[in-house]
Symmetry: C2
Subunit: 262 residues, 2 copies
DNA sequence: GTGTTTTGTGATTATCTGAGTGAAATTTCG
DNA sequence: CGAAATTTCACTCAGATAATCACAAAACAC
């Protein structure tokens, strides 16, 4: 079947969005026909016919399908645009409730002791990108950024950097000359360079090869380094802040390795 | 405990957003302290200490917490703004994938037979509001809208109606004179009136009293009527379209009941 | 160093949710 | 009225998740 994969993917995504298997299958099935009865639906979704009704009821309560109360009942999926709008509404209201509830929550002071050598790890391109944006936004004087993979040079990142260009010094390194030119055009105020990224390239078994993803140095006091698993695209980062002078050592080492020009 | 409810609500919402109980509790717990160890977390969240690690790993993979790989490990929640940004990103990408997949899906023609008397039901204020917006946007000549409860007169609805004011005739009815004045100010081009909404007020057992929510008549060819459960706020709607002349009967009846002025 | 506490991993059991199935009640139609 | 389809309901089974325990490794106190 040519569109079988698409269907499975749609069902998958709907389950990630919180629907049960039957509910997801029913919605996808209904999206394929203008209108349908329980029997028809059961045939193209291989959801047991006797369970169609439960699933539809939940979907109706979520505003994703309409029901014609005749005999036999007929079902119909809400137009996709309306459905996504409804789902978005759910999401927004949840975020709002979460924010409210968390703010009302009383904090407990864990009298954080000697915060000397703070190195934190995080995972996931999305989260790391967010953290990158925040660091860029909070920079006071200088941003040194090395991009290891051009997939990480998003539009948002470019515009964020341009937004800071007249307040802080920008140094942006890339893996290749082509990418350097692109960056130079996109962010004219930045000083760009090509970095010797062979540094730190780890070749494990051919299975888990990792390349350097980003290297971000903000005001010489915070650093973020991420690695990209070349096969899965998973991104892992370590992030350090609150150094008093430790990073000077690292900076010097990076300089000496030719990763950052003087 | 004064903020106990808030905490439970936060945990609840996080679970609705797809986290497991332990994960949600850990995130909320971490949000209450700047930084914490597994033991501290276990104490304030009553998640078994030995399960903290699993939960944190999942949270880290989702970009919701950072881990300091020392001994003992220390955990820290990502700032709320970053967390919601990350969650939003997940949501957006899921919606995109869903849209793509559904569009790629092959439709099956269910040669919809005699579509005579089509009455559909839907549930949920969110979904009904979306449908209302769509009907308003698609109107050609005339919109008759009766608002039974002022909570339904949202800003978006007002602006949508104003957007159509010079293309279609607007008749807007309300339950009270105060509300009528508000509407008249907000939508100056509309003809407003106070409607006798005692019509159709059903008093069941004191448990399930329902009031009329909205009544929308578009181009005399589509109708949407909703009821509001006064205690829970649940909104149920029936929606009819594709009539050739059936609605003329209904319109006449509504007129004769004084619900709509001539 | 040694004994004790804390930390982290893994295995195991109990509980709950959801998928899958069939019986029974209801309706439709000949 | 009887047969077929529709719809609801109750039940089983499997997999996921919560909860507990056992144990090794590390950190700490003395």
């Amino acid at each position: 079947m040519s569109t079988g994969d698409s269907q499975e993917e749609a069902v998958d995504v709907l389950q990630q969005l919180g629907l049960k298997e039957y509910e997801a299958k029913c919605f996808v099935g209904l999206s394929r026909m203008s209108t349908g009865t329980a029997k028809q639906l059961s045939e193209i979704t291989d959801v047991p016919r006797t369970r169609i009704y439960d699933a539809i009821r939940v979907l109706e309560a979520q505003g994703l399908v309409e029901v014609q109360h005749s005999s036999p009942q007929r079902f119909r999926a809400v137009p996709l645009s309306e459905a996504t709008e409804t789902l978005r509404g759910q999401y927004e209201s949840r975020i709002d409730r979460l924010t409210d509830a968390l703010e009302r929550t009383e904090k407990v002071d864990s009298s954080d002791p000697s915060a000397v050598q703070e190195i934190w790890a995080m995972t996931g391109t999305e989260a790391i990108a967010n953290r990158t944006h925040k660091l860029v936004a909070d920079a006071d004087e200088e941003i040194v950024l090395v991009i290891g993979d051009n997939s990480l040079l998003t539009d948002k990142l470019v515009s964020d950097l341009n937004g800071r260009a007249d307040e802080v010094d920008l140094f942006i390194g890339t893996a290749t000359e082509q990418l350097q030119h692109r960056v130079q055009e996109a962010i004219p105020d930045a000083t760009t360079f090509v970095s010797g990224l062979e540094w730190l390239r780890e070749e494990g078994t051919t299975e888990d090869e990792t390349a350097i993803g980003r290297l971000l140095l903000v005001d010489r006091s915070m650093i973020l380094v991420s690695t990209l698993a070349t096969h899965t695209g998973d991104e892992h980062a370590i992030f350090g802040g609150g150094f008093q002078n430790g990073l000077i050592v690292i900076s010097r080492r990076l300089l000496s390795q030719g990763l950052i020009p003087s």
